[in-house]
C-alpha cells in the first residue's frame, strides 16, 4: 500500500473518529427524546464523552499511515478513503483534534452558562442550555406554560446533537479530497449552523441571525456549487488533485470565473472579506457560546478545505517540476496567489478598521475574527510548507485566544451584565480573574509577546517574508507589511478593551462583585492559561503542526 486509495470496505477503520461522533450524535438525540430521567447532566456527559473519545481516537487510529521518508518519520502521507473521496492524513487529524477540543469547550460553556440558575422566565425557552441567550430574549417572552415540562431537556439534546454534528461536518470538510465530499461537508456544516444561530428561539436577534446566515450562506454555497459544476466540466473528474491540474491549464478567464465562484463559498466559511458581511450580525445575534463556536470551528474548517483546494499536497498527477514548486513554495507568485494576498490584505484591514468603532463586544470580536481570518489567509496566498505549518500553529493558538475572549463574554452575560464595551467598565475590580483572562486573550489576539498570539503571527509573517525572499515577488513583502501595519491598528481596539476593563469606572448601580459560575471561570482560566503557556513554550504545538503538515521540505 503506497498511499493508494482504499476500497470502501477498508475505509471504515480509518474513519473511526467520525463514526464515534456520528454514533454519539444519535445517542444524544435518543437520550433527549427518551425517558424523563435523562437529565442535562447526562446529556453533557454524553456529548463531552463523545467529543473526547473522538479526539482520543484520532492519534490512536493513525496506525495505517505510511511514513514517506525514512529519515523523516514525522512526515506522513495520508490514506485515500472511499476511492479518493476523503483523506486520512496528518492535516485532517490536526483539524480533528482542533474541532474536538473546541467542541468540548463550547459544550461545557453552553451547559455551564445555566448552572446555579433555575428555570427562569425566558430561560426555559432555550432549554436552559443557553442562559446568555435567555437574558437577551425580549422581555415579552413571558413565563413558560406549564404544559411542556421537558421542553428544556429536549432542547438541550437538540443543541448538543447539533454541535456534535457540526464538529462531524467540520472533520469531513478538513478531510475532503473530492468536490463531492467537499460540497456535502460544507453544506452539512452550513445548514446545521443556520439552526444553531437561530437557537435562541424567543430572541428576535437570534432569529434574525439565523435567517441572515441562511440567506447569505445559500447564495454563497450556491455560487460555489455552480463553480464546481464548471470544474467538473473542465476536468472530467471531481478529485481535487485532477481538478487543480485542470485548473492550472485552463484559459485565464475560465479559471478566474471558476475561482471567483468557488471563493464565494470558501470565503463565506472562512469569513474573509468580501464574503464576511454576515459575520457581525450572526455573532451578535447568536447565543454567545454558539458565536464562539462559529468563530473557531466552521472558520478553521473553511481554511482546511481552502488550503487543500487551493494549495494541496503534491500529487502524482502533477509533473515533478510542478510538485517541487508546490513543495518548496518557490517561484514567482501566481495570479491566484496574488488574488488571495489581496483578499487577505483587504480582510485584515477592513476587519480591523471596522472593529474600532464597535461598542458591542460580540460585534467587536466578529470584526476581530474577520481580521484574524485575513492573517490566516496569508497562508493560502503563500502556500509554502512554512505557510502550512504557520496556518496550523496559528489556528491552534487562535483556538485558545478566541475561545478565551468569547468565554469571557459568555461569563459576563451569564453574570447578568450586557455584552457591550460599557459593561466592561471597571471589570478589573469587579471580577479580577475574568478580567485577567479577557485581557490576556485580547492582548494575545493583538499579537503581543510573550503570549501565544505572537508566536502565531511570527510564524505567519516569517512564512510570508520567506516566500518573498525566495523570489515570490513584492506582493509578499506588501502582504507582510500590511500584516504588520494591521497589528498596530488592531492594538488600538484590543488595548481599548483592556483600557475599559481597568481604567474606566463602573457604571452607577453596577454590582461591586460579579457572580461568575465556577465552571465558566475555570474554562476562561484554562484557555487563557493555554494562551500564556503556548507563548512561553510553543514546541508542543509547533512539533504537532510539523508532523501534521501535508507539504514538507524538499529532500
Amino acid at each position: 500500500v503506497t498511499g493508494g486509495a482504499l476500497s470502501n470496505a477498508a475505509s471504515w477503520r480509518p474513519l473511526i473518529p467520525e463514526l464515534i461522533l456520528a454514533v454519539g450524535t444519535i445517542a444524544v438525540l435518543a437520550v433527549g427524546l427518551g425517558r424523563r430521567a435523562a437529565s442535562r447532566g447526562w446529556l453533557l456527559a454524553l456529548a463531552l464523552g463523545t467529543l473526547l473519545a473522538a479526539v482520543a481516537a484520532t492519534p490512536l487510529t493513525t496506525e495505517p499511515f505510511i511514513s514517506v521518508r525514512q529519515e523523516d518519520p514525522g512526515a506522513m502521507r495520508g490514506l485515500a478513503l472511499f476511492g479518493g473521496l476523503l483523506a486520512r492524513d496528518g492535516f485532517a487529524d490536526f483539524f480533528k483534534l482542533l474541532f474536538g477540543a473546541a467542541g468540548a469547550v463550547v459544550v461545557l460553556s453552553s451547559f455551564a452558562s445555566r448552572e446555579g440558575r433555575g428555570d427562569e422566565p425566558g430561560d426555559r425557552a432555550l432549554g436552559g442550555v443557553l442562559a446568555p441567550a435567555a437574558s437577551m430574549a425580549s422581555p415579552a417572552a413571558g413565563p413558560p406554560s406549564s404544559g411542556e415540562p421537558r421542553r428544556g431537556d429536549r432542547d438541550a439534546a437538540e443543541y448538543a446533537a447539533l454541535l456534535l454534528s457540526v464538529v462531524l461536518g467540520a472533520d469531513l470538510m478538513a478531510a475532503a479530497t473530492d468536490l463531492l465530499t467537499a460540497y456535502l461537508a460544507l453544506e452539512f456544516v452550513s445548514v446545521l449552523s443556520y439552526v444553531l444561530a437561530a437557537f435562541g428561539r424567543r430572541s428576535r436577534r437570534s432569529a434574525e441571525a439565523g435567517l441572515k446566515y441562511a440567506i447569505y450562506g445559500g447564495v454563497a454555497t450556491g455560487a460555489m456549487l455552480y463553480g464546481f459544476s464548471w470544474l467538473y466540466g473542465l476536468a472530467g473528474t471531481t478529485e481535487l488533485a485532477g481538478v487543480r491540474a485542470a485548473l492550472a491549464s485552463a484559459p485565464p478567464l475560465v479559471a478566474g470565473t471558476i475561482l471567483a465562484l468557488c471563493l464565494a463559498g470558501l470565503g463565506f466559511k472562512m469569513a474573509v472579506a468580501p464574503f464576511h458581511t454576515w459575520c457581525p450580525d450572526v455573532y451578535e445575534g447568536a447565543p454567545t457560546p454558539v458565536a464562539a463556536f462559529f468563530s473557531v470551528v466552521p472558520k478553521a474548517a473553511g481554511f482546511a478545505l481552502a488550503f487543500r483546494f487551493l494549495v494541496g499536497a503534491p500529487e502524482a498527477t502533477l509533473s515533478s517540476d510542478a510538485a517541487a514548486a508546490v513543495v518548496t513554495g518557490q517561484g514567482p507568485a501566481t495570479v491566484v496567489a496574488s488574488v488571495l494576498a489581496v483578499i487577505a490584505m483587504i480582510s485584515m484591514t477592513l476587519g480591523n478598521l471596522a472593529a474600532i468603532p464597535q461598542r458591542n463586544l460580540k460585534r467587536l470580536l466578529a470584526y476581530s475574527s474577520i481580521a484574524q481570518a485575513g492573517n490566516l489567509a496569508m497562508a493560502l496566498a503563500v502556500g509554502s510548507p512554512a505557510a502550512e505549518r504557520a496556518l496550523l500553529v496559528y489556528l491552534g493558538i487562535y483556538l485558545f485566544m478566541n475561545l478565551a475572549a468569547f468565554l469571557a463574554v459568555t461569563a459576563l452575560v451569564r453574570a447578568g451584565e450586557g455584552d457591550t464595551l460599557d459593561d466592561l467598565a471597571g471589570l478589573g475590580g469587579r471580577a479580577p480573574l475574568l478580567s485577567l483572562g479577557l485581557t490576556l486573550a485580547v492582548l494575545s489576539l493583538a499579537g503581543l509577546p510573550p503570549l501565544g498570539g505572537f508566536v502565531a503571527k511570527f510564524a505567519m509573517f516569517s512564512a510570508t517574508i520567506e516566500r518573498g525572499a525566495a523570489g515570490g515577488g513584492p506582493i509578499f513583502y506588501a502582504l507582510a507589511a500590511a500584516g504588520v501595519a494591521n497589528t498596530v491598528v488592531s492594538v488600538y481596539y484590543y488595548a481599548r478593551v483592556a483600557k475599559v476593563i481597568y481604567f474606566d469606572r463602573p457604571r452607577a448601580g453596577a454590582p461591586a462583585r460579579l457572580r461568575v459560575p465556577l465552571s465558566l471561570a475555570a474554562l476562561v482560566g484554562v484557555t487563557a492559561a493555554g494562551v500564556v503557556a503556548l507563548g512561553i513554550y510553543a514546541p508542543p504545538l509547533t512539533t504537532l503542526a510539523e508532523r501534521s503538515a501535508m507539504l514538507w521540505r524538499g529532500p
Binding site: T62, G74, P449, F461, P474, P539, P540, T543
Partner: protein
C-alpha cells in the same frame, strides 16, 4: 564537591533533553510497511559525560552498535560555529560488528581563562538506515564546557519570584506590600552585583565565545530555530546592572502610591517591567530580544494609564501605539535578517537553515552581499527599519512626541524607570543590532544619525527652555542628552562610542535622580509649574542641595557624571562630524540655561505663602534619602573617577569597531 560543581551541568543537560524530545505523538511506524533491513547496524551514542568544567578535561563518548548487522562509522568530528575549545582524537574509518563499541575521547581545553561557556557538537557519520537516501547519515551530540551559570537567568526572572507573594498577600496587611516589592527587587540587585563582580572587562572576542560572558544557551522553539541565549558583554553589562539598581530605586520611590489605588497591581506590574527590561539587555537571540522588548510595553501601558496624572489614558494609549509601531518595524527587520542568514547549527548540534542568534548574525554573516530587496540595498533597508523602530524608543526628533506626554502623566517611579532605562533600550538596540549586524549600512547612515543627534540636542534644549512644567523640562532634557549618545555612536571612534555608552549610564542615573527630585516637591504640593515656586531653598535646604547637584549633573558640570559622557562624545566626534559636533556643543549652553533657570525659579526668590504650610519642616525624609542617595553617590563617583565604568565597555567596543574595519586601538593611555 565535584558533584556539587557538576550539578548545573547535569541540570542543563536535562533541560536540553527535555527540549529535544518536546512534542507528543511519536509517529507510529506503518504496520504493513517494509521493516528496516535486518542486516544493518543500529547506532547508539552513550556519553559518559557531556559536560566539562572550567579547568578543562576529557570526556568519553561511546559509539555502540545495537543492531544485528555491521555498522560503518566513517567519521567522527567536532562541529561548531566559530572557534571552539573542543578537540577529539581522530577515529579511523571502521566497521563495528553487532554489539561492538568504540570510545571516542573529546578534550576540552579553554584557550583563555575567564567566565565563558563553549558549545559544540560531536558529529558521527555512519551508515545506519541506509537506502533512504544516498550517502552517510550524521548523528550529533551536544557538547558544552565552561561555566554553566544560571546567574543571568536568575537575574532576569528573579523579579517575578515576588509576584505570587504580592498577589497572594493577605488582605489587611497591605502595608507590608511595599517592603515585599522592595525585597523582590533586591534579589536581582544582588544578582547584578554578583554579575559585576564576576564580569571580566578584559574578556575580548578573541578570548572566545564571541566575547560574551555568563552565557546560557539552550534550544527554545526548534520550529523557528529560536534559542534561549543570554549573556553579557561590555555593551550591556553596565545597563543591566543599572536596570537592577533603578528598579530598586523605583520600588522605594513608589512608597507614595496609596494603598487604595490598587498598590498590589502597581507593584506587580513594576516587577514584570523589570524582568522585561533586564531581558532586553541580556538577550542574545533576536526572538528572545523581541519578546522581552514587547514585554515592557504592556506593564508600562497600565502603569501610566492607571496610576498616572489627569491625562493618563491619552498618554498611555499614545505610548502604546507609538512604541508598538516601532516594535513591528523591528519585527519585520528581524524576520528579514533571519531569512538572509546562512545555515548553521543550533546549540544542541541540530542543523538549522537560518539563525536568529545575534553573535552568529554579527560574526558569521555578511549582509552586504545579499540581493537587493524591492530595489533597495538589503542591508540599508533592514538598517532603516531597525533604526526607525529603535529611534521611536529613544526617542529621536521627530518621533518623540509620545515622550513628554508619557513622562508628564506617569507617576514618579514610572518616570524614573522610563527615563532611566526604557529610553536606553533604544540606543542599546541600535548598538547591538544596527551597528553590530549591519556595519556597512551604519557607515552609510552615520552622517544622518549624527545630524539627527545634533537636532535632538538643540530641539530638546529649546523645548526644555520653553517648558513651564518641571517634569516636562526634565523629559525634554532627556531627548537632548540622548542626542549626544547618537552623535557619539555615529562617530565610530573608540572614545566617542565609549563616551556614548557612558552617557547612557550617566543619563540613566541623572535623569532618574531628576525625576525623583521632581516627585519630592510634587508629592508635597501637587504642583510642578516652574512659576508656581520660589524660595524653596529657604525652607528645604537639603532638598535644594540635592536638587542643585542633580541639575548640575544634567547640565554637564565637571566632576559629575554628565560631563564625562558629553565631553567624550563631543571629543570623539569632532574629527568625524565637525558641524554636528559644533552644533551639539551649543546644546551644552542651552542645557546650562534651562537647568540653572530651573534651579533659580524654584529655589530662590520669595516662597509663595500658599506653600509655606506644606513645605516648612518637611525637608527630605528618610525614604527619599534612601532613593536619592545611591543615585547622588553614583553621579559623583562616575564624575570623579569614571575609569572603572569606562573599563567595562572598552574591550568590547574595540571588538565592535573592528567590525567596521576602523582602528581597533582601545581607549589608549589618554584616559
Amino acid at each position: 564537591m565535584v558533584i556539587a560543581r557538576r550539578a548545573p551541568f547535569v541540570l542543563s543537560g536535562a533541560l536540553l533533553a527535555a527540549a529535544t524530545i518536546a512534542g507528543w505523538g511519536a509517529p507510529a511506524q506503518a504496520a504493513d510497511a517494509p521493516p528496516p533491513p535486518q542486516r544493518a547496524g543500529v547506532l547508539q551514542i552513550r556519553p559518559s559525560s557531556v559536560a566539562f568544567d572550567r579547568a578543562g578535561e576529557a570526556c568519553q563518548v561511546t559509539i555502540a552498535n545495537r543492531g544485528a548487522g555491521p555498522l560503518a562509522v566513517t567519521a567522527v568530528r567536532v562541529a561548531s560555529i566559530g572557534e571552539t575549545d573542543f578537540t577529539t582524537d581522530s577515529v579511523p574509518r571502521r566497521t563495528l560488528g553487532p554489539g561492538e563499541s568504540v570510545a571516542v575521547t573529546v578534550v576540552y581545553r579553554p584557550r583563555a581563562t575567564g567566565p565563558r561557556q563553549s558549545f559544540a557538537a560531536l558529529e558521527i557519520e555512519h551508515d545506519d538506515l541506509p537506502g533512504a537516501s544516498a550517502g552517510p547519515r550524521v548523528d550529533t551530540i551536544a557538547l558544552r564546557g565552561g561555566e554553566g551559570r544560571f546567574l543571568l537567568t536568575l537575574l532576569v526572572f528573579s523579579p517575578l519570584f515576588g509576584l505570587p507573594f504580592l498577589l497572594l498577600w493577605p488582605r489587611g496587611r497591605e502595608r507590608w506590600l511595599r517592603w515585599l516589592a522592595l525585597a523582590a527587587t533586591l534579589v536581582p540587585l544582588g544578582a547584578a552585583a554578583r554579575m559585576l563582580a564576576t564580569f571580566d572587562p578584559a574578556f575580548a572576542r578573541a578570548a572566545g565565545n564571541f566575547g560574551y560572558q555568563m552565557v546560557q544557551h539552550v534550544v527554545w522553539i526548534r520550529a523557528f530555530n529560536v534559542e534561549y541565549h543570554v549573556g553579557v558583554d561590555g555593551l550591556s553589562v553596565g545597563l543591566t546592572a543599572l536596570t537592577a539598581l533603578i528598579a530598586t530605586v523605583a520600588a522605594i520611590g513608589s512608597w507614595s502610591i496609596p494603598l487604595a489605588r490598587n498598590l498590589r497591581g502597581y507593584l506587580s506590574l513594576l516587577l514584570v517591567l523589570e524582568t522585561g527590561m533586564l531581558g532586553v539587555f541580556v538577550s542574545l537571540d533576536l526572538f528572545l530580544f523581541y519578546v522581552f522588548w514587547e514585554m515592557v510595553l504592556v506593564p508600562m501601558f497600565f502603569l501610566i494609564g492607571l496610576w498616572g496624572g489627569p491625562r493618563r489614558e491619552y498618554a498611555a494609549i499614545k505610548f502604546f501605539l507609538y512604541t508598538l509601531l516601532g516594535s513591528v518595524l523591528i519585527l519585520l527587520a528581524i524576520i528579514a535578517l533571519y531569512y538572509a542568514s546562512r545555515s548553521t547549527i543550533l546549540v544542541d548540534g541540530t542543523p538549522a537553515a537560518h539563525t536568529l542568534d545575534i553573535p552568529k548574525l554579527v560574526h558569521l554573516n555578511d549582509f552586504d552581499q545579499h540581493p537587493a530587496l524591492l530595489g533597495f540595498k538589503f542591508a540599508n533597508l533592514v538598517w532603516v527599519l531597525l533604526f526607525v523602530g529603535f529611534a521611536i524608543k529613544v526617542p529621536l526628533v521627530p518621533l518623540h512626541t509620545w515622550l513628554p506626554d508619557a513622562h508628564v502623566e506617569a507617576p514618579t517611579a514610572v518616570s524614573v524607570v522610563l527615563a532611566g532605562i526604557l529610553l536606553k533600550m533604544g540606543t542599546y538596540g541600535m548598538l547591538r543590532l544596527n551597528w553590530a549586524i549591519l556595519p556597512s549600512a551604519t557607515v552609510w547612515a552615520a552622517p544622518v544619525v549624527a545630524g539627527l543627534g545634533a537636532l535632538a540636542v538643540i530641539y530638546g534644549g529649546l523645548c526644555a527652555l520653553a517648558s513651564v512644567d518641571l517634569k516636562r523640562l526634565v523629559a525634554y532634557s532627556s531627548i537632548g542628552h540622548l542626542g549626544f549618545c547618537l552623535i557619539g555612536m555615529a562617530a565610530l571612534t573608540p572614545i566617542a562610542v565609549n563616551g556614548a555608552i557612558f552617557q547612557m549610564l550617566s543619563h540613566g542615573v541623572v535623569s532618574a535622580l531628576l525625576f525623583l527630585l521632581v516627585g519630592v516637591i510634587y508629592d508635597r504640593t501637587g504642583e510642578r509649574g516652574l512659576d508656581a515656586f520660589g524660595g524653596v531653598a529657604t525652607v528645604m535646604p537639603r532638598y535644594t542641595a540635592v536638587f542643585a547637584l542633580g541639575f548640575f549633573a544634567s547640565l554637564g558640570l565637571p566632576g559629575l557624571s554628565g560631563f564625562i559622557g558629553e565631553v567624550m562624545t563631543l571629543l570623539g566626534s569632532l574629527g568625524r562630524f565637525r558641524a554636528a559636533t559644533v552644533v551639539a556643543a551649543f546644546g551644552l549652553v542651552l542645557a546650562a540655561a534651562y537647568n540653572l533657570w530651573a534651579i533659580r525659579r524654584i529655589h530662590f526668590g520669595a516662597l509663595p505663602e500658599r506653600w509655606r504650610a506644606v513645605l516648612v519642616g518637611r525637608d527630605l525624609d528618610g525614604r527619599e534619602w534612601a532613593s536619592l542617595l545611591p543615585l547622588v553617590l553614583l553621579a559623583l563617583a562616575m564624575g570623579l573617577y569614571p575609569a572603572p565604568v569606562l573599563e567595562l565597555s572598552a574591550v568590547n567596543v574595540s571588538d565592535l569597531l573592528a567590525l567596521f574595519g576602523l582602528p581597533v586601538a582601545g581607549l589608549g593611555g589618554g584616559l
